[in-house]
């Protein structure tokens, strides 16, 4: 299963939620499918995408928030899973693309390549709605069900360690950041 095909399969479901993506391949591939003003790409600060999602979800309980995370980023902020579990925002879906690799910096293996199980860590942290998926149809079904659920969900998608050839896009970081904030403000006024 490839991350890009996962993103493509659910792209149509992302028009009404707030999306926070980590840096690197995830941000690049999501943009390659078509940037939207409700997508925020955290192009550094590894580990903090889920914390950003938590801040959004707690502040905007009526909007669905989707975080696209990665194994390398989650491993840098495992404590953040316990914070997510503690507040268990019902409007947050946490997707972790696990390619067992730090792909953008040489493809070195992360600890998930040697047996660390992120779904079990999430469950152990106290998140009860979790899944690990390995095939595209499973991913699509699990994501759609998480989007329908009124409960914090953590979905670990095991994907191949492949990605784009480069990571810089023509969307400036600050342009993205202000556009995202303005999108939320406009929605709040409606």
């Amino acid at each position: 299963m490839q991350r890009l095909e996962c993103l493509r399969a659910i792209y149509a479901n992302l028009d009404d939620c707030l999306v926070v993506s980590i840096m690197g391949a995830v941000a690049c591939e999501l943009q390659s499918l078509g940037h939207r003003e409700n997508f925020f790409y955290l192009q550094h600060a590894m580990g903090l995408a889920s914390s950003t999602g938590l801040g959004l979800a707690l502040s905007l309980p009526d909007r669905k928030v989707v975080v696209f995370d990665g194994d390398g980023s989650v491993l840098m902020n495992l404590g953040g899973l316990t914070t997510l579990a503690r507040y268990h925002p019902r409007n947050l879906v946490h997707v972790i693309f696990d390619n067992e690799s730090l792909l953008s910096v040489g493809g070195f293996p992360t600890a998930t390549a040697t047996g660390t199980n992120l779904e079990e860590i999430a469950r152990g942290a106290g998140i009860s709605r979790t899944a690990t998926v390995r095939a595209l149809h499973e991913f699509t079904a699990a994501f759609e069900s998480a989007m329908q659920a009124d409960e914090l969900s953590c979905l670990v998608a095991k994907v191949e360690a492949v990605g784009p050839s480069g990571y810089v896009t023509d969307l400036a970081l600050l342009e993205n950041r202000f556009q995202f904030q303005r999108h939320i403000a406009k929605r709040r006024l409606k």
């Binding site: 926070v20 925020f40 955290l42 192009q43 550094h44 600060a45 580990g47 903090l48 995408a49 889920s50 914390s51 950003t52 999602g53 938590l54 801040g55 959004l56 979800a57 707690l58 502040s59 905007l60 902020n77 404590g79 953040g80 316990t82 914070t83 503690r86 507040y87 970081l173 600050l174 950041r177 995202f180 904030q181 939320i184 403000a185 709040r188």
Partner: protein
């Protein structure tokens, strides 16, 4: 515990009067009363963190959502948050308001706090983060309000250092 409840109340009221409705915290001795006040306040969203750096993300998310927030932490928590501060709050121009208990400076008896105490201000300066001291209950509200005003005008983090003079009532 000789942490000033009166002055903690002054700080808490100042945060409320600045419109702050979300605080992320990691407990430390000087913050106990402030955290209890946030716990007891139905208007405040309290986010208890596992590690302080998470608070940068939480505050950024709250900011995008139009909610004013602050991080309450010890200076060692500031040290633990520096990558998040640099590569999120500064990189993405987030008006992050940090209320930092300034442990390990003059008067500190706990040996383990002293190293962090001596690098706190040099690091804030090195990062280009403006800061002010909260050392007098009469000026607390004004200083917090001014720091917040600056943070929003410049879209940049700002820090307020909670000092021993304000927070600690030495038993005689």
């Amino acid at each position: 515990m000789p942490v000033s409840q009166t002055n903690s109340r002054v700080v808490y009221s100042a945060l409320k009067n600045c419109g702050i409705r979300l605080v992320s915290v990691l407990p430390e001795t000087w913050l106990v009363h402030l955290i209890r006040m946030a716990e007891d306040d139905p208007e405040m969203t309290l986010v208890r963190l596992a590690k302080e750096e998470e608070g940068v993300g939480v505050s950024a998310g709250a900011h995008f959502a139009g909610v004013k927030s602050a991080m309450l932490m010890q200076n060692h928590g500031f040290l633990a948050s520096i990558n998040g501060i640099v590569s999120f709050a500064q990189l993405y121009r987030i008006p992050l308001l940090m209320i930092v208990s300034y442990r390990g400076h003059f008067g500190e008896r706990d040996p383990w706090q002293t190293q962090g105490g001596s690098v706190t201000e040099p690091l804030l300066r090195a990062l280009g983060i403006p800061y002010a001291f909260l050392d007098d209950p009469l000026t607390v509200e004004k200083r917090i309000a001014e720091a917040q005003t600056w943070a929003y005008a410049s879209l940049h983090p700002a820090a307020l250092l909670l000092t021993r003079q304000l927070m600690w009532e030495e038993p005689r």
